[in-house]
């Protein structure tokens, strides 16, 4: 029934980001209208939360949690985004919202755990921002672009791969120090 949508999931699982951008463009305005009407959030917050829902959607596909859809992409996304909104409001302590939420396949608890992971990622983002620029670049090249140490040395004008390795070690130590200052959950 959802053949077309499962084809999209296939593409995303192969690392394509284009379909995610298209999905975002298609449903963004509808989500803004819906969320700002039903919850006490503004347009910018709604956009931000919908972006986070798209990111979760990508992650669920790439980690294999979502392989086949049993609803439309829109329904799935709106459910994630709705949770994001509710958690955001709770976090902001603006209101206590009790709602009868039924997440697809009843994954409510799992989703709350995901939200806790989100806190952790926020801490990591804060800690990384405290690092010197060269450390941020190095870690990005290593963990996101998956460059080897020789390529990193070339890219960042280091003497050789050993220098890059030593530099990475220093950057990780700095990151862990920063994280231990910030994080309440990740006790390193």
């Amino acid at each position: 029934m959802y053949e077309k949508e499962n084809e999209i999931i296939q593409k995303i699982s192969q690392g394509m980001e284009g379909p995610l951008i298209d999905i975002y463009s298609l449903y963004r305005d509808e989500f803004i209208l819906w969320s700002t009407k039903h919850y006490t959030i503004n347009e910018e917050q709604s956009k931000d939360l919908f972006q986070d829902a798209i990111i979760d959607f990508q992650r669920n596909i790439q980690t294999g949690k979502l392989k086949v859809l049993t609803s439309s992409i829109k329904t799935y996304l709106f459910q994630i985004a709705k949770f994001k909104v509710i958690n955001f409001i709770k976090r902001e302590s603006r209101q206590t919202y009790i709602d009868d939420i039924e997440l697809i396949k009843g994954e409510r608890n799992a989703y709350i755990l995901e939200e806790e992971k989100q806190y952790k990622l926020d801490d990591i983002a804060k800690a990384i921002s405290k690092l010197p620029d060269d450390c941020q670049t190095l870690l990005k090249l290593y963990y996101y672009k998956e460059y080897d140490m020789s390529s990193i040395a070339r890219e960042l004008n280091y003497k050789n791969s050993d220098t890059a390795k030593a530099k990475k070690s220093v950057c990780m130590k700095k990151l862990i120090v920063e994280l231990s200052k910030i994080s309440k959950i990740l006790i390193l």
């Binding site: 990111i55 952790k120 990591i124 996101y144 390193l188």
Partner: protein, 234 residues
């Protein structure tokens, strides 16, 4: 706090800088030193989270750029709308003067009197099939909307299928379905008017007039004024 020497050791292990003997020692320590093992697990988790963080950041930036493109298009189209509205008002005034001066009986194009049907709001938690069908309708995916609504047996389904057929210029199918919308349905009055419009478009003026006269005589009918207007044009 994770000891600095442990971090150093994890890094060297990951980079393959440990000798065979050091690797053995490292693996042995993992098996008997629970604190060391716990730190190593945290270190691996951190590496994984770093990957997630950078991946998330990259997509987030692209989505923010998409926002800028969409919002630019919206503001551009709003500007164009303002220009169109200004031109339309000017054109409207000119047209009104023209009509007034010539006292012409120019007819409205009947098909332009077809009321816009927005569709029902799609609510989270409603039946998936119904929701998907309504979605397809709202997106103007007429054929898909028809095939989805076909699986639902209700007046609402007949009504929206009929409109979808109309949009595809399939007047016969559309009129048959409008005839199926029962008097109890909230869409009955809409269906009546639309059926009359289709008959008029098909040149079945007698049928169209019969319905329109009936509607125009009933001031409680939500479309009685529109019916009068269409009658003038047939």
């Amino acid at each position: 706090m994770m000891p600095q020497e442990s971090i150093e050791l994890f890094e060297r292990f990951a980079q393959g800088l440990l000798s065979d003997k050091e690797v053995l020692e490292f693996e042995a320590k993992l098996s008997f030193d629970s604190e060391f093992k716990s730190h190593y697990d945290q270190y691996l988790a951190l590496e994984n989270d770093l990957k997630l963080h950078f991946q998330k950041n990259s997509l987030k930036k692209k989505l923010i750029n998409t926002d800028a493109i969409i919002d630019h298009k919206i503001s551009h189209s709003l500007l164009r709308k303002k220009i169109y509205i200004t031109i339309s008002i000017a054109a409207g005034i000119a047209l009104f003067i023209g009509i007034y001066q010539s006292s012409s009986n120019s007819a409205d194009n009947i098909s332009e009197l077809w009321p816009y049907e927005e569709g029902l709001p799609v609510r989270m938690g409603e039946k998936v099939l119904y929701q998907t069908a309504t979605n397809a309708f709202k997106l103007g995916e007429w054929s898909r909307a028809i095939s989805l609504f076909e699986k639902i047996d209700s007046d609402t389904s007949y009504y929206f299928r009929a409109i979808s057929h109309y949009e595809l210029n399939e007047f016969t199918e559309a009129s048959n379905l409008f005839l199926h919308v029962s008097k109890e349905s909230i869409y009955h009055q809409d269906a009546e008017l639309r059926l009359a419009i289709i008959y008029a478009l098909e040149g079945k003026d007698i049928f169209a007039k019969n319905i329109l006269i009936k509607i125009s005589e009933n001031k409680q009918h939500k479309h009685y004024k529109l019916a009068l207007r269409i009658l003038k044009n047939i």
